[in-house]
Assembly symmetry: C2
Homo-oligomer: 273 residues x 2
């Protein structure tokens, strides 16, 4: 088992008292500390909102790559549905060269929807977009010269994509929420699975992970090709009580706000015990 | 006057004997040295070919930002015609936060044409694409919320673009070759001008620079708003003879090859004396 940290680049550290430059600097310092502490991986999310600084995760990860030695660096997640898979591959292959083979990416449909109007996509195409762009991304990873056509991106006619990644096969994880079809898709494609437990109890995801493993087995993949990652919010303190006292007020405020945007019920302390 | 270096990220350093990872590492080391030596700026070009590692310049520049203190970091050039100005602004604003206000970009139509089929554009729209995308990029730099519509990119309806750059106005230079209309455009828009002297004698560009200054003046810009940069191939050695002996064989080979692709006459030594 490997342990890592997924983070957003929040513009609100210190409850908005930090400048964006200092918030970015402190994020990079935390990645350096995670590297020195021996953690396996650090991930940066993607948003296109005022509260966040992470609309271009590969750019932030490249700065982190230049200051770290061993830690793997990943998106968490890349909103693939609204991106161009060619540019995504190019950025992460470049990161892979800079970090000498420490780049990964987690690709997802994106639970934050602000990217859709920004890049001219329709939310009604939520799943079709992802399916098509994932297909292209995997093709680019597989072959230097790509011939491909689809509905949401201009066709490629024997076009090469450079640079090529340092790793022979740049790791691409499928980021999933709670949609069973997404677990099936990851298994069928034999892609490693990253489960984003944003809210809810971890153990409720077990049947979905069984679904993934079963789909992967049926598609002919071996158990070691079917890795499972679990992303889960956490906070570490000396005791449970201390952790709750430190963490809960800000958590409640944020999640009540996010919940209103996304139609969830208000936060309560049970969820973080 | 400021002095800097523009470079490509060549995959061919050491005539191809270096691994891509080592070529990238050595490029970053050269940027660190340029910073320590007190140069004003370092630029990285953009290509989408096997011989180059620089399809994502902002990613490389972010790694350089993490390892340098004072040097300004720029694209040289960003092929804006085939890019999404929203993503370009986001990447360079992120670089600007990481570098604490040291980011710039030079945008151009691109003298290398391989980006057009790769991103689904038609070379017949060469100038219309650039004009439209430059208009959007400047609008994004000006305003947090953008309403815009055009022919080559989905419309934006009061969409905000984040993060915002650290510098109040992220420097955007117009990269030009030898096309008089490009000099006129830069002057009329009051954008700083970066003249890419790829081949030919420097002094031949003087009338075009006068054209730029005159157009800028007529559009109401003051002389200090109309900066001129000159990019010129160079090689430094103890004597002229030594420089020619070191530099000429590789130069001749490269430019004869490039010239064939672009319809130039073969290289001769006069051009580099």
């Amino acid at each position: 088992m490997e342990i890592g940290i997924d983070s957003f680049a929040s513009a609100m550290y210190g409850r908005g008292t930090l400048t964006p430059e200092d918030a970015m600097e402190q994020l990079l310092e935390r990645i350096v500390q995670a590297d020195e502490a021996g953690l396996a991986v650090y991930g940066i999310g993607e948003h296109h909102k005022k509260e966040f600084l992470d609309s271009a995760p590969a750019v932030i990860l490249a700065a982190a790559a230049a200051r770290t030695k061993n830690i793997r660096l990943t998106s968490a997640v890349t909103v693939l549905s609204t991106a161009d898979p060619v540019r995504v591959y190019q950025s992460f292959a470049t990161l892979d060269l800079i970090s000498k083979g420490r780049a990964e990416m987690v690709v997802g449909r994106g639970s934050a929807v602000e990217a859709y109007p920004l890049f001219g996509y329709d939310l009604r195409d939520y799943d079709a977009l992802f399916k098509e762009k994932l297909d292209l991304l995997l093709k680019i990873r597989e072959q230097e010269f790509v011939t491909w056509s689809g509905k949401y991106r201009p066709a490629l006619e024997n076009q090469p994509v450079y640079p090529r990644s340092s790793q022979q096969k740049l790791p691409i994880w499928l980021g999933v929420g709670g949609t069973p079809a997404s677990f099936l898709r990851a298994g069928t494609l034999g892609l490693p699975l990253m489960v984003a437990v944003i809210g809810g109890e971890t153990e409720h995801f077990r049947p979905l992970i069984d679904l993934y493993k079963e789909a992967g087995k049926q598609a002919g993949f071996t158990p070691d090709q079917l890795s499972v990652g679990l992303h889960s919010p956490g906070y570490v303190a000396a005791t449970n009580e201390e952790a709750i006292a430190d963490y809960y007020p800000g958590y409640a405020e944020l999640w009540t706000k996010l919940g209103k945007e996304r139609g969830w019920s208000p936060s309560n302390q049970k969820r973080i015990r």
